[in-house]
């Protein structure tokens, strides 16, 4: 576990630098099993920073979410760096951002955190109920010890961690300027068993499944907005002139939205699972993304967000690429 004093000291040290504009970290949430992202501009606020298994959010998203107003005539744009804390999985978003040239390597300071998994709020609420006060969590071997409203509960990590953690291949940040803790040993692997299982269904059953799931969608776009890889300046589904996707909700438009998004993430999704975590109506969005992730891996031996020297998949060409679908 990261020592919070060390983490706060590093944050302070970073924030007092003249070339740093802001730092994105986590602080204790106001209730329940999830921390809150926080954007800090003043070193005196660093005392609020934490890291523990409640720090589920992928903060790399905030690097591309920041809205910048036009610079007034005669003024210089603020080119100072942004510091960001990332877990292993989150760091893949930064690698992918860098190879897509979303920003330059010198624009960010990456504070890496080796991570042994974060809590799935849905699993926690099923086990221990919802709670109006913030929960604190400590790691003890293969157990997590939760302090919930004054009561202490112990639970096996495998029963409460996010699914992505149970198949985590990158617990250590793949890009970082400073590591805030010792690297941890890889503790899981991914065999895409969930994708295999889903694919066993007949096309009719699969369509029935997606019809039910997309039918629930209220098009709040939380999956898109939380996604570190959805950072188009203007998203095609909200573009008004011309309008490619209707604003009305029905199975056709909802399906169009989710399929467009899945395709736009092919070879780009870094599997942080934020889209599925935030969905207010529990649409299993990662099933689509993971199917594409596996296809990309099998067809092109490509994995997004792991190598800053790589080319983006869709910007690269190899004469050996399979081309069965080309007539």
């Amino acid at each position: 576990m990261v020592d919070s004093k060390k983490l706060q000291d590093k944050a302070r040290e970073t924030l007092v630098r003249d070339d740093v504009r802001r730092l994105i970290g986590w602080k204790r949430g106001t209730y329940g099993y999830e921390a809150a992202p926080t954007v800090i501009k003043d070193a005196s606020d660093a005392e609020a920073l934490i890291f523990d298994p409640t720090c589920v959010q992928n903060l790399a998203s905030f690097l591309t979410l920041e809205e910048k107003l036009p610079v007034p005539r005669g003024a210089e744009p603020d080119t100072r760096k942004v510091a960001v804390m990332v877990k292993g999985c989150d760091s893949r978003a930064i690698v992918q951002h860098l190879l897509e040239k979303a920003y330059g390597r010198d624009d960010v300071i990456v504070l890496g955190i080796p991570c042994r998994g974060v809590i799935d709020r849905r699993k926690a609420e099923k086990l221990f109920g919802d709670v109006a006060t913030p929960v604190e969590v400590k790691e003890e071997g293969d157990k997590l010890v939760l302090e919930i409203g004054g009561e202490v509960k112990t639970v096996d990590r495998k029963d409460i961690l996010m699914d992505k953690c149970l198949r985590c291949r990158y617990p250590n940040p793949l890009v970082s300027d400073f590591l805030l803790d010792e690297e941890v040993e890889k503790f899981a692997d991914d065999d895409f068993a969930d994708v295999d299982e889903f694919e066993k269904q007949s096309p009719a059953d699969k369509w029935a499944h997606w019809e039910e799931q997309f039918g629930k969608c209220i098009r709040c776009y939380s999956c898109r907005n939380v996604c570190p890889m959805c950072y188009c300046v203007e998203c095609i589904v909200t573009k008004l002139r011309p309008q490619w996707t209707r604003r009305s909700t029905d199975i056709s438009e909802n399906t169009a939205y989710h399929i467009q998004r899945a395709w736009h993430l092919a070879g780009r999704c870094i599997e942080c699972m934020e889209c599925q975590r935030v969905c207010p109506v529990d649409i299993p969005i990662m099933t689509l993304n993971r199917k594409l992730t596996r296809d990309v891996k099998e067809l092109f031996d490509y994995e997004p967000g792991v190598d800053t020297e790589a080319q983006p998949l869709l910007a690269s060409y190899n004469p050996q690429d399979p081309e069965e679908y080309i007539m």
Binding site: G29, T30, Y31, G32, E34, A35, A36, P37, T38, V39, Q57, S61, F62, L65, E67, L69, R122, G129, D130, V131, A132, T133, E212, K216, I218, R219, C220, Y221, S222, R224, N225, V226, T238, L240, R246, R247, S248, T249, D250, E274, R277, V278, P280, V281, D282
Partner: protein
């Protein structure tokens, strides 16, 4: 009005007894509770906290056709719901019913909106009192309560094996009449148990806010930097507003397939950039700071100024589902602490 009861195992019988009505009730898909038209009574659950999507969609659907027309022709065919269609919302929470009464103000304001108001008129609200409020519920702070009867036509209390049903209006009595063969008369025991449950439920509410002074103060914080503490981490998604039972903003769009066209309205949200985008390209709310400020100020200042009621019922959905822990109670508390003077120096 009268007191009734039915055995909980007879829930399906109660629902099928309402065959003269279009029955809308909470159903579970996986863990997601949402109101839908009952086609199979077995889908209905009374065992839910607050539905993920509020039942505002039953009066104000997410997408609604206003009228249909053919391109190149002058006639339009209105799609106004009939005020005669008998509907009952079975198992609505008191807060969600209160939300309807708040939104009534808007849809009755400068124009009587027949789409919303006809549905309101034709719908009986059979409520379900909360025995176990959710962690982020704060209804008593904004004029409600886990067993508040004020905005309902009838209220049910889940007493374990039996459900106690108390009618509160003629409309509610009309529903009970349709169930005359199914409901039994309830006595003092059920009433006592329901009163105890209501009292206990009130004691289980853990979060609260003293709203005194907030509507008056918020405008003075218009330029205050404190909004940034929250807007800096806002994703700009529509969760807080789409899941809010009192948020009522909509967009109007024309859609066509070949020559068949319709004018439809659909939920819109002040948290989206395009909500306030002008045709010129100018956006008076250029960042999430202005949008966050608008959401809170509209609920706790502009709406009460115009209609004399806070546009929040304390259901806790915006807190529960916000992916980044933007907590309306936290914002309101911090707004009380914020010094209005600072606004000028910022």
């Amino acid at each position: 009005m009268a007191n009734y009861k039915f055995a909980k195992e007879k829930l399906a019988k109660v629902l099928s007894g309402l065959s003269d009505f279009k029955v809308l009730a909470p159903a579970l898909t996986g863990d997601v509770a949402r109101f839908q038209e009952v086609t199979d009574p077995a889908q209905v659950t009374l065992d839910y906290g607050n539905s993920n999507v509020p039942p505002k969609e039953l009066m104000f659907p997410e997408t609604e056709t206003l009228f249909k027309y053919r391109l190149g022709q002058d006639e339009v065919e209105a799609s106004v719901p009939s005020p005669e269609e008998k509907r009952v919302i079975f198992g609505i929470r008191p807060c969600d019913a209160q939300a309807y009464s708040i939104v009534d103000n808007l849809f009755r304001w400068d124009f009587n909106d027949p789409y919303f108001l006809n549905r309101r008129e034709s719908t009986a609200l059979v409520g379900l009192a909360c025995a176990d409020p959710c962690a982020n519920c704060f209804c008593p702070s904004v004029g409600g309560g886990p067993a508040s009867e004020e905005y309902l036509d009838a209220v049910m209390f889940d007493l374990g094996d039996a459900v106690y049903l108390k009618t509160l209006t003629d409309k509610g009595e009309g529903v009970a009449e349709a169930l005359s063969g199914v409901l039994e008369a309830a006595g003092g025991d059920e009433k006592k148990a329901a009163d105890k449950q209501a009292k206990d439920a009130l004691g289980k509410i853990q979060r609260s806010i003293d709203t005194a002074g907030i509507p008056e103060k918020l405008p003075s914080l218009y330029d205050h930097p404190f909004w940034e503490q929250f807007s800096d981490r806002c994703l700009g998604c529509g969760i807080c507003t789409y899941l809010c039972p009192t948020c009522h903003c909509f967009d109007i769009q024309d859609e066509s397939e070949a020559f068949d066209a319709r004018r439809a309205r659909m939920w819109d949200t002040c948290m989206f950039a395009e909500y306030s985008l002008h045709t010129s390209g100018h956006n008076p709310r250029p960042t999430r700071k202005e949008r966050t400020r608008n959401r809170i100020s509209h609920k706790y200042s502009y709406f009460p100024e115009k209609f004399d009621v806070i546009a929040c019922v304390g259901c806790g959905r915006c807190i529960n589902y916000c992916p980044v822990n933007i907590d309306i109670l936290d914002i309101l508390e911090k707004s009380k602490e914020a010094e209005a003077k600072e606004a000028k120096t910022a």
